[in-house]
Symmetry: C2
Subunit: 332 residues, 2 copies
Amino acid sequence: MPELRKDPILGRWVIIAGERAKRHKDFAHAPAALPEGVCPFCAGNEHMSAPEIFSLKDEAGNWQLRVVPSISPFMESGRDFWKKGRGPYDLRSASGSHEMVIETPQHVANMADLDDHAIKDVLAVYRGRMLELEKTVYLKSVLVFKNYGRAAGAGLNHSCSQLIATPVNFKRVKEELEGARFYYETHERCVFCDIVKQELETSARIVLDEQGFAAFVPFAPRFPFEVWVVPKKHGADFYKSDDAALDGLAGLLKKLLSKIKAALGDPAYNYVIHTAPFRRPQAGYWSTIEDDFHWHMEIIPHLDQPAGFEWGTGFYICPAMPEEAAKILRDA
Amino acid sequence: MPELRKDPILGRWVIIAGERAKRHKDFAHAPAALPEGVCPFCAGNEHMSAPEIFSLKDEAGNWQLRVVPSISPFMESGRDFWKKGRGPYDLRSASGSHEMVIETPQHVANMADLDDHAIKDVLAVYRGRMLELEKTVYLKSVLVFKNYGRAAGAGLNHSCSQLIATPVNFKRVKEELEGARFYYETHERCVFCDIVKQELETSARIVLDEQGFAAFVPFAPRFPFEVWVVPKKHGADFYKSDDAALDGLAGLLKKLLSKIKAALGDPAYNYVIHTAPFRRPQAGYWSTIEDDFHWHMEIIPHLDQPAGFEWGTGFYICPAMPEEAAKILRDA
C-alpha cells in the first residue's frame, strides 16, 4: 500500500507508491539526446562563446576545460545592484553571475563518460569559481547545477554544468538551513551527519559507500531514483573541500553516474550542489551554520514528471520504492 | 535586462527574463494530445472504472458527470489511519481519498471546449465532494487539480479533474497560510484582497475582470503565462462559495481557458484550487485563517520546463514578461 514519508530536514511529505510502484523498466522516459547541430562547446568553436573566464590546458596548450559566461545569462555581472519597490511589490536587479563550465573539448554528452580525472577537474573548478564569486559583496549564494539531456533542460549534447550566483538566498537552501538549525537546537547534532549514520547502519538505501562519501536514495525522495551524495566528514561549504575530498567525490560520481546510465537506460538528469550561503552573521540567526549545515549533492534522474498535485501541494508522489531503487542502482 | 521579482505572499524570488524573454510564438511546446486508445471515461465504458461515488444525470437518465475513485489511488480511503517511526524517520498511512471527476460523457479533452453549464456542474461537484470529505476527521486538506495534456501529466484525452485529500497539510498551502498570516499581522488586511485591488488599479497584468472574479498574471509568476483567478469577495474556503459565485467562476473559466488555448496553441496545462485546510483551531496559530487566507485558483500552462536551477533553488526563471503575457491573453 502507498505510504506517506516525511523528509526529516524539510518536513515535506512524500507519497511513496508502495506496491503500485512502477518497476524500473516501466518508466518510459524520452531519450536524453537532443537534435545535433554545430556545437559551440566543441574544440575549434571557441569563437561561438563569450570571452573565457578561466581554462585548464594540457602540456600542448590545448584546453581541457573552459569556463565561459552564459550567452543568455539569467543573472548579469558588473551591473549596478539595486533594490526597489513597485506599488506593494519588491524588485531587485538580477545582478550576479551565470557561468558555464564546459567539461571537455570533445563532443561527449554525459559526465558518466568522462574519466575520473576530468571529473575531478570539474569539481576543482566549481571550488575555484565559488572562491572567486564569494568576493563580490552583494552575492549571497551560488548554485552549481547540471542539466543533462532534454528532459532535464539541457540545450546541447555536450557535457557542461552551470554556476548561478544571486544577491538573494535560495528558497530551498533556506528551508534546509532552517530544518537543520531546528534539528541542531534539539539534538546538538548535524541532521545530515545523523542521516548518513542512519543510512550506513540500515544500508537498505545505500548505493555507494566509499572514498569518504555516502551515496544513497533518501528516505523520502521527491523523484524515483533520486540519489544524495553526502560527505561523511562534516562541512558546511563545498568550496572548503580539499583535493583529497574532491578526488574521492570524482571517483564516486563517475561510478554513480555510470550506474544511473546503465540501470535506467541513459536517462536525462539534473544534479545540484547545496552549499551554505557565502555571508553569514557572527551572531544571531545564521551564526551556527558552520555546525548545523552540511553541503551535499542531489542527483535527480528524469523518469517521470511532476503534475498538478505536485505543483499544487509542494508534495511529491514518488512512484518507486526507495529501497528497491537503491538495490537496482547498487547492483548495476 | 532580467530582474528579480518577489512573490509578496511566499517571499519566493523569480527571475524575470526581461528583454531576453521569449516571444509567445517561440515556445515550442509538444502537442497536448496523447495517443488514443479505448477511453475508460467515455459513456458506454463505465465498467472500466471502480463503482461510482456520485453522478449527475439528465432527464433521460444519462450521466453528464461522474465521480469515481482513482483506479491507481495515491491515497486510500477506508483504511486504518496510523502514524509510526522507522529509526529517526516519520511515516503515516496514505489514508485519504483520491477521486476522479469525469467532466463529460463525450470524448472531449480540454475543459475549454465544454460549455459554461458543464463547467459550473464540475465546480459544484468540487464543492459537494469537499463538503463530504471534510467529515472524515483525520483528513486535513484537499487539493482539486486538473492535468490537461501530456506535458501536464494527463493520462487520457478526456476532460477530467482530481481531488486528493490527505491527513497532512500541504507544504505549499502552508507557506501561503504563513505568508498571508504574516501580512495580516502587519496590515490587518488580507494580502490576496490587497493584491486583487492593486492588480485592478494598475491593470497591466489583468486578463479578465468580471462576474466577481479577477484573472491576472501574477507579479512574480513561476511559469510563463501562469494565471491566478481570485474571487473579489474575501473567503478562505472554496466550498463555501454559493451558486452565484460558481456561475460567475464557470463563465470566467470558460473564457480564460479558451484564451489560453487560442493564444498559445492549445498547450498542456494544470490548474489547482488552493483552499484553507478543513480543520483549524479556535485559538492560537491558525485561528485567524478565516480573515487572512483567501481561496484561489492557479492555472499553469506548460510551455517550458523547470531544470536544475529550479529544482536546486526553489526559485523559478520565467522566460516571459508578465505584463506582455497578460496583454497577449487579454487580446486573444
